[in-house]
């Protein structure tokens, strides 16, 4: 929203320095995006008169003009427009000044005295585009003959002003602040001065209100819900012209291009109070109506699917049944609240006008504007919610201005369809509650003063000091409850005047979040073990899921994705790990271990609330292209996991080979990632029989797809489960004061016997109340395929003595007997 500071002065009668206005807006209204001095922008531009014209001897398209600034001076300027005549008035930039259309842009252009094809040009004559007041850059703009030669352009056009730009965000719900009067009201209140709206805006409004029966206007509203109010008036004997300078000037400063007096007046009202209006050419409306009669028919209705309209900006728009239109008896003549139709636009020959001032449903205007992709000033203003009660005063004032500027007179009844009048809301406030809410100590009088300054009315229904009841001004569509009024008071009083105080509270501690804690613990362990944490997008491509050999149909697809690479929600973390591993290998990092904690989603895997189930997982990947490790990479990743489990004292973890384990009843997320791994070198991680993760070597295809070294393996594990696991936290064995004794034992066993079986036998055989064994695997050797030699070092600690070798041998014998039975 653009706000010229001259307008603030006009409507508040206060002379406030720019700095202070900016502070008031920023602290009480909304963020200031910036401000622009128009005085600066038009510096060095003067009204000049053409006094001589010659052809350029060497350039067919150029003319040499002599101009004067009125002091018997004569300045020579070369221009690319040969249509100017002696006596024409133009805007002239003196050398050394900036072309306004480039002011404060990255390409500021300073005019210099230069030779053009050999002839000196002392400055430049401006087009409307260069003056920043219109689109045409093909010819020099001819100015009003009545202007004073030699005067500055800015002064003659009333542009010696500064325009503040306020960010729309804070005004989202404030239709009234999309008008200069609305902003002036709050700025005045901020200076503790009561604001009074102009007479014409108050109540039912004043103006040329003589109704007439000369023309009849029939309006039928078939969509009351989307158009709560519609007023139409016919104005006769209109002389369409250029607008007077003051009107053009205020429009320009508000960022609106002047068109003609009628359109400009409707736009002027919208920048004053936020209410958009529209003007139709009465005769065009009557003539183009297929059911011709001698009167104008206006119908407010939803469009039929496929109906079209040629809009003012010359686009053919196809409508659908959600679009509200203004139509004649048959065809649309405007898209309600958004843009008018070309066929009924006002032109210089227009004699009769149908003036429309209506209220349209903000949500429908927004929806239509979005779906048609048409974003106009009117649509923006309707979207912020306009007050239907203001339609009548606004249309009457517009008629009055048209009468003053373009001679038009009201020539019909004022047709006003407004079946459900919106009463002004009454809101009661408790001063105590208000102060408790804001943390202030305001008195009833202070509160009332603030509210009255922004045109609330005090209804003295309660005479206590504790309560007040106010009548909300009807332009404040955003005020519905007491808390809304609290905000008004807080803003105008000034948040900066509220002293921060910490809340008093009971001395309770926050509850521990177990998932966050275990993530933090694991993060500590891994980062101290040379692993790097990464954080990757939740979005993946179809290709990435396919390359991971997973099912892309399990992925939620993004309706409005930024690109195909970011079009699916990942179904596992391991997919992201693989693609990041590929990138890091390409970065020539030879060996790394990386991990991520995050959420993944699988279609059909829902939680108790019918939302996609979310579970914190960790994924970790190890890869090396160096010759530093041997054997299956599974074991290296297992080493990291064991480090985590042992540090966290999580016991009862077992690894079950995928290839030899039943795949029944697997969780969706586990089943989803299995195809990524090689089943012969991949295991389920289980805890007390519960499958909580998958760890292993990636399948050959996956490694090839991601161009990963052969020694690459990974894991994905349910962290939420781990966070709930009860950890071993008691001492199991007292440590003995007698030295322990150890022995290395080699066992030859069939290959299918797993290491854990041997370990179990050893521990079960040795561990008693006073004996405690530790087992360390020293070597696993296999020459032939079906046998393995496993060498373990068994260490025994006894609470009461040091075991003799004889005793130890006896134990080993027992163990050998037991293991020999393993098949």
């Amino acid at each position: 929203m653009k706000l010229p500071i001259s307008s603030i002065k006009e409507y508040t009668n206060l002379d406030i320095p720019l700095e202070e206005i900016l502070h008031i807006i920023a602290t009480k209204i909304g963020e200031v995006e910036g401000y622009l001095s128009w005085e600066e922008m038009y510096k060095g531009i003067y009204i000049a008169e053409i006094i001589n014209k010659e052809d350029h001897p060497d350039a067919e398209k150029l003319a040499i003009y002599k101009i004067t600034l009125g002091k018997k001076d004569e300045i020579q300027v070369v221009a690319g427009d040969k249509t100017l005549e002696i006596g024409d008035k133009v805007a002239y930039i003196q050398p050394g000044n900036i072309v306004p259309s480039t002011y404060k842009t990255s390409e500021e252009f300073v005019i210099k005295a230069v030779k053009m094809r050999g002839i000196l040009s002392n400055g430049m004559l401006c087009s409307e585009r260069e003056l920043n007041i219109g689109p045409d850059h093909t010819k020099v703009l001819k100015l009003d003959k009545g202007l004073t030669v030699g005067e500055t352009f800015a002064k003659e056009y009333n542009l010696n002003d500064t325009v503040i730009e306020i960010e729309n965000k804070a005004l989202t719900n404030r239709g009234d602040l999309f008008g200069i009067i609305g902003l002036a009201r709050e700025i005045s209140a901020a200076k503790s001065k009561p604001f009074t709206s102009p007479e014409w805006y108050k109540g039912e409004g004043v103006g040329v209100s003589k109704e007439s029966d000369k023309y009849s206007l029939e309006i039928s509203n078939q969509s009351q819900a989307l158009c709560p109010r519609y007023i139409g008036i016919v104005l006769d004997n209109v002389k369409v012209s250029q607008s007077p300078v003051w009107l053009k000037s205020i429009l320009l400063k508000s960022g609106i291009r002047p068109i003609n007096s009628i359109v400009d007046i409707t736009n002027y009202l919208s920048i004053l109070v936020g209410q958009p209006l529209h003007a139709f050419d009465y005769d065009k409306v009557v003539k183009r109506d297929p059911k011709r009669s001698d009167k104008a028919h206006i119908t407010i209705r939803l469009a039929k699917d496929g109906e079209t309209i040629q809009t003012l900006d010359d686009n053919l728009v196809t409508l659908d049944s959600n679009t509200l239109v203004i139509a004649d008896s048959t065809n649309p003549i405007a898209i309600a609240g958004i843009i008018g139709g070309k066929d009924t636009e006002i032109d210089e020959n227009t004699q009769r006008v149908i003036l429309e001032c209506a209220n349209f449903d903000r949500f429908n205007v927004r929806k239509t504007s979005m779906s048609l992709g048409i974003f106009t000033d009117a649509a923006t203003r309707f979207t912020k919610a306009q007050n239907p009660n203001q339609c009548l005063p606004v249309i009457l004032y517009a008629s009055q201005l048209i009468n003053e500027i373009s001679k038009g007179e009201i020539a019909s009844k004022i047709v006003d369809i407004y079946p459900e009048y919106i009463e002004q809301r009454k809101i009661s406030l408790s001063i105590k509650k208000l102060n408790a809410h804001l943390g202030t100590k305001l008195t009833k009088e202070e509160v009332l003063t603030i509210l009255k300054n922004i045109e609330y009315k005090d209804i003295e229904e309660d005479s206590t000091d504790e309560y007040i009841t106010v009548l909300v001004p009807s332009f404040r569509m955003d005020i519905n409850i007491a808390e809304d009024v609290h905000e008004d008071i807080g803003r105008i009083y000034g948040y900066e005047n509220i002293k921060p105080v910490l809340p008093k509270r009971e001395l309770t501690a926050g509850k521990k979040n177990k998932v966050l804690s275990i993530k933090s613990e694991i993060r500590n362990i891994l980062s101290n073990s040379g692993a790097n944490e990464i954080d990757t997008y939740s979005f993946v491509s179809m290709d990435l899921i396919k390359k991971s050999e997973q099912d892309p149909n399990l992925a939620y697809s993004i309706k409005n994705a930024l690109s195909p690479e970011l079009s699916l929600m990942r179904t596992s973390l391991i997919t992201s790990m693989l693609s990041k591993a590929q990138e890091n290998i390409q970065r020539n990092i030879p060996t790394f271990c990386m991990y991520e904690f995050n959420l993944a989603h699988q279609k059909g895997n829902m939680d108790n609330f019918e939302l996609p189930k979310e579970q914190w997982n960790m994924s970790l990947l190890f890869t090396t292209k160096e010759d530093i490790l041997e054997g299956n990479p599974y074991y290296q990743v297992k080493r990291y996991m064991e480090k985590i489990f042992s540090t966290l004292n999580i016991l009862n973890i077992e690894y079950l080979l995928v290839n030899t384990t039943s795949q029944e009843n697997l969780p969706v997320w586990i089943k989803n990632i299995l195809p990524t791994f090689n089943p012969k070198s991949t295991a389920y991680i289980t805890h007390k029989g519960e499958i909580i993760g998958v760890i292993g070597e990636f399948s050959k295809t996956v490694k090839e797809n991601f161009k990963l070294p052969n020694f690459t393996a990974g894991v994905e594990i349910d962290i939420e489960y781990l966070s709930k696991v009860e950890r071993e936290n008691k001492v199991v064995y007292e440590s003995s004061k007698y030295p322990s004794i150890n022995q290395d034992v080699t066992l030859q066993l069939p290959r299918r016997v797993e290491y854990k079986q041997i370990e179990r036998i050893i521990l079960d055989t040795i561990n008693t109340r006073d004996r405690y064994a530790t087992v360390e695997c020293l070597d696993i050797y296999s020459k032939e395929d079906e046998k393995r030699n496993i060498t373990v070092r068994i260490e025994i600690e006894h609470l009461e003595k040091t075991l003799s070798t004889k005793e130890f041998n006896k134990i080993v014998k027992k163990i050998l007997v037991k293991t020999s039975k393993l098949e």
Partner: protein
């Protein structure tokens, strides 16, 4: 034409030794594959040459297909050859002592965002707040409706929200958790922070990301005021930035708060002198905050006549970038270990 075909034949010959089966398929037989395009080209071949051309390209197709089959079997047989490993063993069969699995002496690291998050959550936990992490797929009710955004409300535009085809929403702010937090931690006093990943459908560049981290906070109790909000947020920021701050609260607009405000702090890096971090203004706009709207409390099962509260939502990424001297926000989620190892 036949020259082209022999060229392609030679290329296939090279490729079947280097490419995987899926790469072969992609390169030659996919919709835009080389062989597929040859087939599409058949209409441009003069009638008399068409038959010969057809035979040639059919031959090519067969060759590629055969090799794809062969390469597939290759992978399978090599997987078949392998023996099951013993997953319970600490290392593989016949592994030399020095090359057994071990924790390597590499430079480890925590992700900078997570480090920052841990610091911040620690402060809030010390202040007596609970923590509940946010969701990445949610519904319209939590993201909008329960936060007093009716359907079609223009303020929904302010959140460039991603949607899934199934109608789920990717939260554009952690406020999506407010309703859950009110219900889970109510009745008041409620003090909870809600960190999580958020998404906005906007083009990315060095300072904009479609994915970012936010921390929501809510505090509900009897008699909670805007003055309490100012002091609580100030307290947290001062502990976090380890410096004293001046603060400003400015008007803003959010449907789920009333009053709606923006929290601005004096720049902790230049002490209000003006620097590149604060855009030479001396002030940094840090977060949206405000008093929780009564409708939001009601939707969360809290009686707004008895209780009031405040909420805020602060982004984590920008703070992290500033603190770590990172100039491109995209580096945070790029997974570049050369970059991450430094942090």
């Amino acid at each position: 034409m036949s020259k082209d075909i022999s060229k392609i034949l030679k290329q296939i010959d090279d490729d079947i030794h280097t490419l995987t089966s899926s790469e072969l398929k992609q390169k030659y037989l996919s919709k835009k594959g080389i062989v597929t395009e040859l087939f599409q080209n058949i209409k441009n071949i003069p009638n008399e040459e068409r038959k010969e051309y057809g035979i040639k390209i059919n031959g090519l197709k067969k060759l590629v297909e055969e090799n794809i089959e062969l390469r597939k079997n290759d992978t399978q047989t090599s997987d078949l050859d392998e023996k099951n490993i013993d997953p319970s063993a600490p290392f593989d069969i016949n592994t030399k002592t020095g090359k057994r699995p071990h924790i390597l002496d590499l430079k480890g690291s925590k992700h900078p965002l997570m480090k920052e998050l841990e610091v911040i959550l620690d402060i809030f936990q010390r202040m007596g707040f609970d923590v509940m992490e946010s969701k990445q797929l949610d519904d319209d009710f939590h993201m909008f409706e329960s936060l007093n955004f009716p359907k079609g409300h223009p303020a929904r535009d302010m959140y460039d929200t991603f949607w899934t085809e199934d109608g789920f929403v990717l939260p554009a702010h952690t406020s999506t958790m407010q309703n859950r937090a009110l219900r889970r931690y109510g009745p008041p006093p409620i003090r909870v922070v809600l960190p999580g990943r958020c998404f906005r459908n906007e083009a990315t560049d060095a300072s904009h990301e479609h994915t970012f981290y936010q921390i929501e906070g809510i505090y509900v109790d009897k008699g909670i005021s805007l003055a309490h909000m100012q002091a609580t947020i100030k307290e947290y920021l001062e502990k976090y930035l380890e410096t004293e701050l001046e603060i400003k609260v400015q008007p803003s607009y959010f449907p789920f708060t009333e009053p709606d405000t923006e929290f601005v702090i004096s720049c902790p890096f230049c002490k209000k002198k003006g620097c590149s971090t604060c855009g030479f203004s001396g002030w940094i706009e840090l977060m949206g905050c405000g008093m929780i709207h009564p409708n939001v409390l009601t939707a969360g099962g809290i009686d707004p006549n008895k209780y009031s509260g405040f909420a805020w939502g602060v982004g984590l990424d920008r703070l992290t970038l500033i603190k770590r001297g990172i100039t491109d926000i995209r580096k945070l989620r790029d997974g570049d270990l050369n970059f991450l190892k430094q942090l």
